[in-house]
Subunit: 437 residues, 2 copies
């Protein structure tokens, strides 16, 4: 099975765990059988591999997520990187061209596209496989998954099928309705449109060539920023007459708010948390290294990360966005392809961070115009290159780097550094990369 | 006026702002006229000085609070340091001997003793002065303040006066009653015993000599750990027949729990905090550098410090102690006589802290057996002494110190350091102090 996972934007509805550079799908919140926690991306990836160990998985996403994906899934996963955000049609066209030109998938093979973030079980992935097999048959150009509604939701578009058969032609599509209208749709046998569908590769490749002037993947990639923003639904789905829907009645949850996310938590608390026995319906997700004590609360979610603390009535948590939009908090932690960092201290003319490099990884070779830096190795070993000079480093070693000096560090084992940045103007844009000499 | 302020123990009821080394009276929570915040100690000290600029103030407290007191009140304040905790009679005896032998207060002068942590206004301090003047008259050996009850409290002992005059002989004392009994006491004209009283210095000094075998302050100090724990009420007050009570009807609040403390807050929030408009009765005290967002909460207190986060229904917050007792969190910040420190990062074999030295101050000259240290100066200037070698330091300078090496730093201006501690066994006990060569 060829599967394209659409990994969407930043999303602040799960603040303080999601932020401008960490989307909700990277939050490690789901308990695995071994007792550790995995993110939505890791969960979906593991589930696909379990259902179809040969599945060719491509993640269509923006540049900002590439580090997190490599960090959470390893280097092996295929990534179709969108140079900028241009909505779902360009993104799916680019991923399709990537499958064809980079991964060598033939035009006759089927491709399944689905969002990376639904909370689903294995039956969902068997349904994806069935979707691909239905597309293989060539009875229709597009085969959509239609999710059996569990309530008259106002959040989803609806698909009206022509029949009640498991696979049916589509009669029509309906925009997000109000609750009353949703009830009427459901009475007619309508299904939710979860943005999941399958097609033969050549179908979308031809559509792309019809609508965009490009030669191949590389060409499309290079002119991506000139493309018009347009959704796949609008550009393709709603205009297609040879289109089927396949019914899916298993679990399918959209965990986009704290209220829905906490419903999927198997533990009431993740991280250091204490609740007294007068608490009911309380969930705590604590990424800090200090305890949270909750007393006498009801139906409240508490979430703490290095970027902030949310304490919200669960119902109210759906209305978080405008408040979070106003918060102008600098990024306090981030996953990178080489490891991660966390801000420890912010002063006017200094910034102290903790850097963790994964074994075998290194930073880019780079310099800064306006700041000096000091590294103190606190665990592991490796080597630094500073202005071309290589040096072994181990615990306790100190490396001082003046502004302008080129530097990198390579981790032989997992390596942790305290990095002190010093200067009048400290910001993330002050970085020049160089090839290693 | 000679006034002894009893500054009590650690108290965990205001966790996470109070901890083993920071008592509630040092939390800066009260807004001043200039918009900054002051602690209970600072508030009381300022109020006394305003009422009586010549007041001789002595703070009776344990060793652990000396740094905080100097940090918050300056070096000028008198401190009677209890070498260990021995309840109120030995503490008051020691403070009285300190006033006589160290401060040179005559035996005929009156002394007022009161706890450091009631939330009061200026009329209270005028009442303290009146209490001292009443003691000066010598009509009684002890003059107590009797606080006019505002409700039938079960938390306080009661004083039953013989008459309803402003100053009356004491008929009897009553232990903390239940609510019904309290109502009966109040109907009889009973007053709360807030532990505030005045006496002529010689009275308590003589009592001390009766009960303890000692020569002078130094001798008493040196044998303090051998003394029996006994309260002043039990050892003196309840046995005294020449005893008066002076009525006080002004504001007197005991801010010992989050519930009562938040009532005295003039702002709903201190520190970075956002509340949506569905919040009612919410107080936020945030000592972290990241925002707290509260949504849809009612009658809840949220408090965050480097040591933890409390989210509690206000009523429930009175029951915090057993939960906090179970938390085994290392000290994450502390005030020292020379400034303050904050723990930034804890790893198995390293500890990274931020040290702030106040202008003109320095640490002890000291060494560690089991850890190396690295200092990176992030602001200010000063000089270090390392194994006898003096060196000027400024922003960006790095000082490395091997285990065993003697070191200190002197701050010419306010000076901030990032200190990285490295070793197999890092703990606060690994410290040897030396005189500076």
């Amino acid at each position: 099975m060829n599967i394209v996972l659409l990994s969407g934007g930043s999303g602040k509805r799960l603040w303080p765990l999601s932020n401008d550079i960490r989307s909700k799908q990277f939050i490690k919140i789901f308990k695995t059988e071994t007792g550790s926690y995995e993110s939505m991306v890791q969960r979906v990836y593991r589930q696909i591999k379990k259902t179809d160990s040969d599945a060719k998985i491509t993640i269509a996403t923006s540049k900002t997520q590439v580090s997190s994906i490599h960090n959470q899934l390893g280097e092996g996963v295929g990534i179709s990187v969108e140079p900028c955000r241009r909505d779902t049609f360009p993104a799916i066209a680019l991923a399709t061209a990537y499958l064809h030109d980079v991964q060598g998938v033939s035009e006759e093979e089927s491709v399944v596209v689905c969002p990376v973030d639904p909370y689903v079980e294995e039956d969902y992935f068997r349904a994806l496989k069935a979707l691909a097999e239905q597309a293989d048959k060539g009875e229709a150009n597009l085969v959509l998954m239609g999710i059996a509604p569990t309530y008259p939701s106002e959040k989803y578009g609806y698909i009206i099928p022509k029949s009640t058969e498991p696979v049916s032609d589509v009669a029509t599509f309906k925009e997000k309705p109000d609750e009353e209208t949703a009830k009427q749709y459901i009475a007619q046998g309508a299904l939710w449109n979860g943005g999941v569908f399958a097609y033969k590769l050549k179908y979308v490749l031809n559509k792309a060539h019809e609508l965009i002037d490009f030669t191949d993947y590389e060409d499309l990639f290079s002119k991506y920023d000139t493309l018009t923003k347009i959704s796949f639904d609008y550009a393709v789905v709603e205009k297609e007459s040879k289109i089927q829907v396949m019914r899916f009645a298993g679990q399918w949850k959209d965990l986009g708010t704290w209220n829905t996310l906490t419903e999927a938590m198997s533990d009431n608390a993740i991280g250091e948390a204490i609740m007294n026995d007068t608490c009911t319906g309380v969930n705590i997700i604590n990424e800090l290294n200090v305890p949270i004590l909750a007393m006498g609360l009801h139906d409240v979610v508490i979430s703490a990360s290095p970027e902030g603390i949310l304490v919200s009535d669960k119902e109210q948590s759906s209305y978080i966005k405008p408040y979070v939009d106003k918060i102008d908090q600098q990024i306090m932690f981030a996953e990178k392809s080489w490891g991660s960092f966390r801000v420890l201290d912010v002063e006017e003319k200094s910034l102290t961070i903790k850097v963790t490099l994964n074994e075998g990884h290194s930073m880019n070779y780079h310099s800064h115009k306006n700041r000096d830096e000091v590294w103190v190795v606190i665990s592991g070993k490796g080597k630094t290159v500073v202005d071309g000079m290589e040096q072994e480093i181990a615990v306790g070693d100190v490396v001082t780097m003046q502004a302008g000096c080129r530097h990198t560090v390579f981790a032989e084992t997992e390596l942790q550094l305290i990095e002190v940045q010093l200067g009048e103007e400290i910001n993330v844009y002050d970085k020049q990369k160089f090839p290693l000499e």
